[in-house]
């Protein structure tokens, strides 16, 4: 069994990587990818802390929920990205500036 802090380090690394991708990457699909990474980092933390209470599946259940939410979020997000791409011929949010003054 892995010590919990190793998992936390990994989670922190994943979260930071996801955050960085979300902030830095220009393409909306990559941003969604970053979001997935962050959600998975959260999952990792949930699982890691669930190890501290062996009798309760709360953490794992929560992680499952997160996966479901992430799936639906990606489905919706990709659909939006697809629509945006169809409409604006681009998937880069910075290039969509119709509402900008």
């Amino acid at each position: 069994m892995l010590p919990v802090h190793h998992l936390l380090y990994l989670g922190a690394l994943l979260f930071t990587t996801g955050l960085m991708i979300t902030i830095i990457k220009r393409n909306a699909i990559m941003v969604l990818l970053g979001l997935e990474l962050m959600l998975n980092a959260a999952n990792l933390n949930l699982i890691a802390f669930n190890q501290q209470t062996p009798g309760s599946p709360d953490g794992q259940m929560f992680a499952l929920f997160v996966i479901v939410v992430a799936v639906s979020e990606v489905a919706v997000g990709l659909a939006i990205v697809l629509r945006v791409y169809r409409y604006f011929q681009t998937a880069v949010p910075d290039e969509i500036r119709e509402l900008k003054d």
Binding site: T22, I23, V31, P93, D94, R97, L99, K100
Partner: protein, 649 residues
């Protein structure tokens, strides 16, 4: 005469007098208003209107002649309770002048249609000719000194514009300016005279003035006023100190010279002398006589050595005017007027004939593309075969000028001599008489020299030019005027001046001895002229040609000091008066600059500063919401991190 009595209706007469005055003004108005495209119409309508004016003048003269004085006055304006009136005073003098002015003006108009044909500014010329005539008729008709003064000034103005008609010629402009300025000098005196008359009699009306003067004893002011008015006369009629403008005025077109010399300009002075005769005291008359005879002698001498034919004529006019003024100085104003009238005809004829010579030679010169001074007598000579008509008119009018028997000049000079002899009673007065005879002698000399110089001898420069007589429209007026130089126009007896014209109480008695003497005198002068001028001119002298350097004296002692003084005042004006104004202006501009700076920097600065603060705040807060989603995330994460650090540490 029944028909005369029928016509003798003051209202009709007034209408005709008014027409005489206003038709030339109408000609001026038409000329001034018509557009340049219809300029040819002016050359037709101006002589026609002046002809109508001449006809009305003749009607007025025919009805009013010998019937005393008809005053017509209407109130003009009122100042402080004094009413100034404008009106006519028709008497023998004025109706006679009326006819002469319109007649000469009409003939000059007709002549000018030929002479000025092709002149680019012909419209302006005829316009001003009409104005000139109008102004002169105004002087002739006016019944009060104030109106006379107004028209007097208008005459001066019109002559100035006409002398300077060819405004591309610098000499013409200088001559026009000189004529204007010298007339101003005389008119300054006239104006002082006006004030003296007004303050002492309280009226400007000629008749009222005469009545007022008859009532009171002769005062010193009256002599002063008479001399002041004579000063104006000296300016306009070119008398001794102020005559130098007239020879220079020859720069104008020749018909204008004829008009100035015969009817409209210099005649005004003599006419005013006659009109104002009642104001002249014996002392003033002596001054008038001496000035006149001095002018006559100086100008006659100057005429002897001129080369320019028009200048000879100009000096002869001055000389003849001097004789008229001298005659007026004896108190024989009617005699002065007689000479004025005879002189008007023969001098107009001489000028128009000289104009014909100039015109003809100029045309020939123009065709041959030659260049020489056509007015210089040294270039002329031998033209009697080429211009026989002009030769005859020149001889006729020249004989009248020289005072040869059977010509009008003889009659009027005879009258002048009678007046002078009747007046001479002491030493210096006899000197004046002798000088007058001397002038008459000199007149014969210079007239002979001029005619000989133009027409006799052989042709020199002009020999190979095509010279022809001017057209009929120019010859007809000359012929008419030459006809009026003969004796019977003025008196039936060629040796006695008592004709229809002289009907004045001061008529000098006729001396048969004087007639014989002056006839012999003129014939002697003619013989002497033939002898003296058989080869070259012995009077060739720069002193005479420059009229005793009178102009140089004016230049040295009057013009230059005046210019120096005006230079000093100009500098003072420029440096001090303008300097003060400039300093004030600079001060104001400086203050204004400071105020503008304060306004711009402090007041506007406060407002702009507040606006700028709001703007920069807005821009700063706006910068967080630039529509970049990832930036939002960045800020949110950053804030959370800061919040965490703040709460946890």
């Amino acid at each position: 005469m029944a028909d005369t009595a029928l016509l003798y209706n003051p209202t009709t007469l007034q209408t005709f007098a008014l027409l005489t005055l206003l038709l030339p003004l109408l000609s001026f108005g038409i000329g001034a208003l018509i557009s340049e495209r219809y300029a040819w119409a002016v050359t037709l309508c101006a002589p026609f209107l002046v002809l109508l004016s001449l006809i009305s003048a003749i009607v007025v003269a025919a009805t009013q002649w010998g019937l005393g004085t008809l005053p017509v006055a209407i109130p003009w304006f009122t100042v402080y309770g004094y009413t100034f009136s404008a009106g006519f005073m028709l008497n023998a003098t004025s109706v006679c002048m009326l006819v002469i002015v319109s007649l000469v003006s009409f003939l000059v108009h007709v002549y000018s249609t030929g002479y000025m044909a092709g002149d680019a500014a012909g419209k302006r010329y005829f316009t001003m000719l009409g104005f000139f005539t109008f102004a002169m008729q105004g002087i002739v008709l006016a019944d009060n000194l104030l109106s006379i003064f107004v028209f007097w000034e208008l005459v001066g103005f019109a002559s100035c514009t006409l002398i300077g008609h060819w405004k591309d010629k610098p000499q013409a402009i200088v001559a026009a300016k000189k004529a204007f300025l010298l007339n101003r000098v005389g008119d300054a005196g006239f104006m002082v005279g006006l004030m003296l008359v007004w303050s002492n009699t309280g009226t400007f009306g000629l008749q009222d003035m005469a009545l007022a003067l008859a009532d009171q004893p002769v005062g010193g002011w009256q002599t002063a006023a008479a001399l002041c008015i004579f000063c104006g006369v000296a300016g306009k009629s070119a008398q001794f100190p102020l005559f130098t403008w007239l020879p220079d005025a020859m720069e104008g077109p020749t018909p204008v010279s004829a008009l100035i010399h015969a009817a409209t300009m210099v005649a005004a002075g003599i006419f005013l002398l006659a009109r104002m005769s009642f104001i002249f005291t014996p002392a003033a008359l002596d001054v008038v006589a001496i000035t006149g005879i001095l002018t006559a002698v100086v100008a006659a001498l100057a005429a002897l050595s001129q080369h320019d034919i028009k200048k000879i004529l100009a000096y002869s006019t001055i000389s003849q005017l001097g004789l008229m003024v001298a005659a007026a100085g004896t108190g024989a104003f009617g005699v002065a007027l007689l000479h004025l009238v005879t002189h008007a005809f023969f001098k107009a004829c001489l000028f128009l004939s000289a104009g014909s010579v100039i015109h003809a030679v100029h045309q020939g010169q123009h065709q041959a593309h030659k260049s020489f001074d056509v007015q210089d007598m040294r270039n002329l000579g031998g033209l009697r075969k080429r211009l026989p008509f002009t030769y005859i008119t020149f001889i006729l009018s020249g004989s009248a000028l020289a005072g040869i028997p059977f010509f009008s000049g003889f009659l009027s000079k005879e009258a002048i001599f009678s007046a002078l002899i009747g007046w001479a009673d002491n030493g210096w007065r006899w000197l004046v008489v002798v000088a007058a005879f001397g002038v008459s002698f000199l007149t014969v000399l210079y007239t002979y020299r001029m005619i000989r110089g133009i027409f006799a001898g052989d042709e020199t420069v002009t020999a190979d030019l095509a010279i022809a007589e001017p057209p009929v429209i120019m010859r007809a007026p000359v012929a008419l005027l030459a006809g009026a130089s003969v004796w019977f126009v003025f008196a039936l007896n060629p040796f006695v001046c008592h004709g229809w014209f002289l009907q004045y109480p001061e008529l000098p008695p006729h001396h048969t001895a004087l007639t014989i003497f002056s006839t012999l005198w003129v014939l002697l002068a003619l013989g002497a002229a033939g002898y003296i001028f058989r080869s070259r001119n012995p009077f060739e002298s720069a002193l005479l040609r420059n009229t005793f350097y009178l102009d140089s004296y004016y230049e040295k002692y009057i013009v230059r000091p005046v210019l120096a003084v005006s230079g000093v005042t100009n500098r003072f004006d420029y440096k001090w008066l303008d300097g003060m104004i400039h300093a004030t202006a600079y001060g104001q501009v400086t203050v204004a600059h400071f105020v503008a700076w304060f306004d711009r920097v402090i007041i506007d600065g406060m407002v702009n500063g507040a606006a700028g603060l709001a703007r920069s705040t807005g821009r700063f807060t706006r910068s967080f919401q630039g529509g970049k989603i990832q930036l939002y995330i960045f800020w949110a994460v950053l804030t959370i991190i800061i919040f965490l650090i703040w709460t946890l540490v």
